[in-house]
């Protein structure tokens, strides 16, 4: 393998792997599963890099892949019928897992904030998480969630307002 390609991948891996793992861990029910999804996510990136495919934004690409893999995992795990998936939409599956928060190895304030984010509506949860925990730009979030930048911006402001009210 070309060392330049490996170095490029390693740099992205070092920078983003923790964020992707964290994103997965707060959404699936166990650490092992989160590691598996993280590995699969970076495997996709690696395949794209060695095939010399153009990826404009690696962060957005990684979060999009991770989100899709989480949705796939939920579909398999919960054995939900196709009708129900169509009825409820895919968005419900990549939300923060409430049952997981108490098991996370973080301090009380972190658990508290995560708990409050999970209480927000589906529209705001992932957006606020990506913006304030993983520091994704509005453009990157729009790309991950496949919505316009304008809609992203509006949802961030409204979600933040709602979060503030909950914390008070």
């Amino acid at each position: 393998m070309n060392p330049e390609t490996t170095n490029k991948f390693q740099k992205i891996y070092d920078e983003e792997s923790d964020a992707i793992f964290r994103f997965c861990l707060t959404r699936v029910s166990n650490r092992e599963q989160s590691l598996d999804i993280t590995q699969d996510t970076f495997m996709r990136l690696w395949e794209n890099i060695i095939q010399k495919k153009d990826i404009i934004n690696y962060r957005a690409f990684l979060f999009t892949i991770a989100r899709n893999l989480i949705i796939d995992w939920y579909r398999k795990k919960k054995n939900i019928s196709l009708d129900k998936i169509i009825e409820e939409g895919d968005g419900k599956f990549d939300l923060i897992d409430n049952s997981m928060i108490s098991n996370l190895e973080i301090k009380s304030e972190g658990k508290y904030i995560l708990d409050k984010i999970s209480e927000l509506g589906e529209t705001y949860q992932t957006i606020l998480y990506l913006r304030f925990v993983d520091d994704l730009s509005i453009k990157e979030i729009a790309e991950v969630l496949n919505i316009s930048e304008n809609a992203t911006s509006v949802r961030i402001n409204r979600g933040l307002e709602e979060l503030r009210n909950k914390i008070k």
């Binding site: 970076f42 996370l104 304030e109 914390i167």
Partner: protein, 271 residues
């Protein structure tokens, strides 16, 4: 987020950001990704790409070659009074037959068999002017003689006694060929002079499975063909490729007269 001035929220977010993989988990995943990946292979090009009308340069070449080939065929048939135009495949088989014919003729000369009753005649081409006649010893079919003529005689010695072990071909971490349970009965190596063995089974490495075990488990024999069952990757101390079609008696003569180096090729380093 600066505008919120909410220390509690900032602290909470910072705590969430501290969720990380351990360094061993991180390294493990990274190594997994690098090891799992197969080298990218370019897609296989369609054999009909030349005829694609979307690609005009190829089309021009295709037409050019078609004209040349057609013209070439006409020239061959015109210039030959006695011969007919032949395809490359026909030409190949004709050359093969000629080679076999020469080889068999030499063999027959060596054993001085001049008796016409001891030969059969095979006509390869039905055209009268183009007959190829092969003289073969009686009771041997054309197919048998051809295959014997083409496969070299392999004799070898091993570090340990693998007389009853299965041998398989091993290449790039995989088993690429192995004997079948029905054929293997006739593939036991034959003992020759000075401890040499005559190779009849394919393969360059030995499994820890004996031929008898292999035959006994006729329903489960395939489970034996595993890389884990290989017990010796470099089993040979000597291995030679000799001229095809040698009988055991002839090989023994060569061995006993210390003429292996003159009559055979040492292929130990090639394995």
């Amino acid at each position: 987020m600066k505008n919120t001035n909410d220390e509690k929220m900032n602290n909470g977010l910072n705590e969430i950001k501290n969720i990380k993989m351990t360094s061993s988990e991180k390294d493990h995943i990274f190594q997994n990704i690098l090891n799992k990946t197969k080298p990218h292979q370019p897609p296989v090009r369609s054999p009909f790409f030349l005829f694609s009308f979307n690609n005009s340069p190829y089309l021009k070449f295709a037409i050019f070659f078609m004209v040349i080939l057609a013209g070439g065929g006409i020239i061959i048939s015109n210039n030959s009074d006695k011969k007919i135009a032949i395809s490359p495949a026909q030409n190949y088989y004709r050359e093969m037959n000629q080679a076999n014919n020469d080889y068999l003729k030499n063999q027959n000369n060596n054993i001085n068999t001049n008796n016409e009753d001891n030969k059969i005649v095979t006509v390869i081409n039905k055209k009268e002017n183009d007959n190829v006649i092969i003289n073969q010893p009686k009771l041997a079919t054309s197919m048998t003689m051809t295959s014997e003529a083409l496969s070299p005689t392999i004799i070898y010695k091993t570090k340990k006694n693998y007389l009853n072990n299965i041998s398989v071909c091993y290449k790039n971490g995989e088993i690429t060929c192995f004997p079948g349970p029905t054929d293997i009965i006739n593939q036991r190596p034959t003992k020759l002079a000075n401890g040499y063995l005559l190779k009849k089974m394919p393969g360059d490495v030995f499994l820890g499975i004996t031929i008898d075990e292999f035959i006994k488990n006729e329903n489960d024999w395939f489970s034996f063909i595993k890389v884990e069952n290989i017990i010796d990757y470099n089993p040979y101390t000597e291995i030679y490729s000799c001229q095809p079609g040698l009988s055991e008696e002839e090989i023994n003569k060569i061995i006993l007269s210390n003429n292996i180096q003159n009559n055979c090729v040492n292929i130990l380093n090639q394995n």
